[in-house]
């Protein structure tokens, strides 16, 4: 785990039970958390805005629901809007209305794979509680590209199906209880902070 310094983005996927898990996670992050955090939470088409507002109450980091071509900035929390796929596209997000992937739009796998493609070994993927297996393939792709995988300990998850699938797909992932994930991300992010003053070959 964590063998490559210079993490550039954290992508997080969750479904059933996600609101509580995400609240705990962002509450644990310091106000100077230095990486962008992109969240994909399965939810209904009509739940516009609400998730972002609820998370904003838990953190000093700026939370926003993503609009197309929104720049990706450090220390911001980005939430995928309902009914769109969210792709990491270089220095910004692109949205698509391509068909749902295994009944999900946004799809966690789609976001994770785009992050792995755009940021390679600079990607950290986190799979939290959920009742389906979305995210497992995406997390595997992140790790195959040299990135780092984190999975909520299924025993501490409201529904363990999603993290258990991710752990099966990525046996090397760090498996942590929910309360410890924020501190773990902070550790990884501090490595990233060190890398920004490093040699230029890290930047792309």
């Amino acid at each position: 785990m964590g063998h490559v310094a210079g993490y550039r983005i954290v992508v997080i996927g969750t479904s059933w039970g996600g609101l509580h898990a995400l609240s705990v996670l962002v509450r644990g992050l310091p106000a100077d958390f230095p990486l962008p955090l992109a969240i994909v939470q399965h939810r209904s088409r009509d739940s516009e805005g609400l998730l972002g507002e609820l998370l904003q109450d838990e953190t000093a980091l700026r939370v926003s629901e993503v609009e197309d071509k929104e720049p990706i900035l450090p220390g911001h929390v980005y939430v995928a809007p309902p009914d769109y796929h969210m792709l990491v596209d270089g220095a910004h997000f692109s949205l698509t209305v391509d068909p749902p992937v295994r009944f999900s739009r946004p799809s966690i796998d789609v976001t994770f794979i785009s992050a792995a493609s755009a940021c390679g070994a600079g990607t950290v993927g986190v799979v939290l509680t959920g009742a389906n297996e979305d995210g497992a393939l995406g997390l595997r792709r992140i790790v195959e590209c040299g990135g780092h995988g984190v999975v909520q300990d299924p025993a501490t998850a409201e529904i363990g199906t999603m993290p258990a699938a991710a752990r099966r797909a990525v046996p090397s992932a760090a498996v942590l209880p929910l309360e410890e994930i924020a501190a773990h991300l902070m550790q990884l992010a501090t490595l990233a902070g060190a890398a920004t003053v490093g040699p230029p070959w890290r930047s792309r």
């Binding site: 516009e48 609009e67 197309d68 809007p81 596209d89 068909p99 789609v110 794979i113 493609s117 195959e144």
Partner: protein, 282 residues
């Protein structure tokens, strides 16, 4: 849609080079210009075609596309077709009735451009709104798309029957004043929409990337089309829309699109921030 993934270990820099070469070849040989599409979503669609052809590299797809026009047609569908729905985002359509329709009432003649209309679901939606508001007789909707095949589907007006429940709910939440089933006839697994809804619609092929403005409009609708373009091309198309709108003309974008990052932002005032309805003011 499948995940459409390159094999593990595929060099991202080489992949990008190959995709750029593919797009250059497609443009120079066939004239379709996808060179300024947003990379991340384009990449997904290219890999979908690579998988469907049973290939494993972008270069192999390029060879097939350049030598076989049928494969080019398939790729064109993959790259250009946008998924849509009737009354997608009901709150937008409700806001259109509330904020835009009262202004349109003051016009003797209303010209609407529906840019990137795909298979036509939202063209029928707009025709229904104008009909119910008593404005349709003095309106003309110009519905355009880059892709001739989807325009044929739009003209035929047959949509999957299994989506009608969703569309009916959307229609009600969008402020529909009648019974939605009045507008179509169910047949086998299709819903055939009343051809009368098309009496003031003109379908035409138009390419937002390469074609110019073709008239002056009171309303331009272009929802969830520009999200497939990169930022530079988006900006160029914002300029095309600006040039094509009459003063106080209305521009409607998708609910997660924005003029916020565009140099044309100051030329428009916001009528609805949440539903992305703008009015040209200078």
């Amino acid at each position: 849609m499948t995940l459409a993934l390159p094999p593990v270990g595929y060099d991202p820099a080489l992949e990008r080079l190959e995709i750029e070469l593919l797009l250059e070849g497609v443009f120079r040989h066939y004239g379709f210009d996808f060179r300024s599409y947003a990379y991340a979503s384009l990449r997904r669609r290219v890999w979908k075609r690579i998988e469907a052809e049973g290939l494993s590299t972008v270069s192999a797809l390029q060879e097939r596309v350049l030598h076989d026009p049928d494969v080019m047609n398939q790729l064109l569908l993959d790259l250009s077709v946008n998924v849509t729905a009737m009354f997608r985002d009901p709150s937008f359509h409700a806001a259109f009735r509330r904020l835009v329709v009262p202004v349109l009432r003051t016009y003797p003649f209303i010209r609407v451009w529906h840019a990137g209309c795909s298979t036509g679901e939202e063209v029928y939606s707009m025709a229904i709104i104008l009909e119910e508001e008593g404005l349709y007789e003095r309106a003309r909707i110009y519905a355009t798309d880059i892709n001739e095949i989807v325009l044929q589907q739009a003209k035929a007006g047959i949509f999957p029957l299994n989506r009608m429940q969703e569309y009916t709910e959307n229609y009600i939440r969008a402020g529909g004043t009648r019974s939605f089933s009045e507008y179509y006839t169910a047949k086998y697994d299709g819903a055939l929409f009343s051809p009368a809804l098309l009496r003031n619609v003109v379908f035409a092929q138009h390419n937002l990337v390469t074609d110019r403005s073709f008239s002056e409009f009171n309303v331009i609708l272009c929802r969830n089309v520009l999200i497939y373009f990169d930022k530079e091309l988006q900006q160029r198309v914002h300029g095309l829309f600006y040039d094509s709108l009459a003063t106080f003309g209305v521009l409607c974008l998708g609910s997660k699109e924005s003029l916020k990052f565009s140099k044309y932002e100051d030329c428009f005032e916001v009528l609805s921030q949440t539903d992305k309805i703008y009015r040209k003011v200078k």
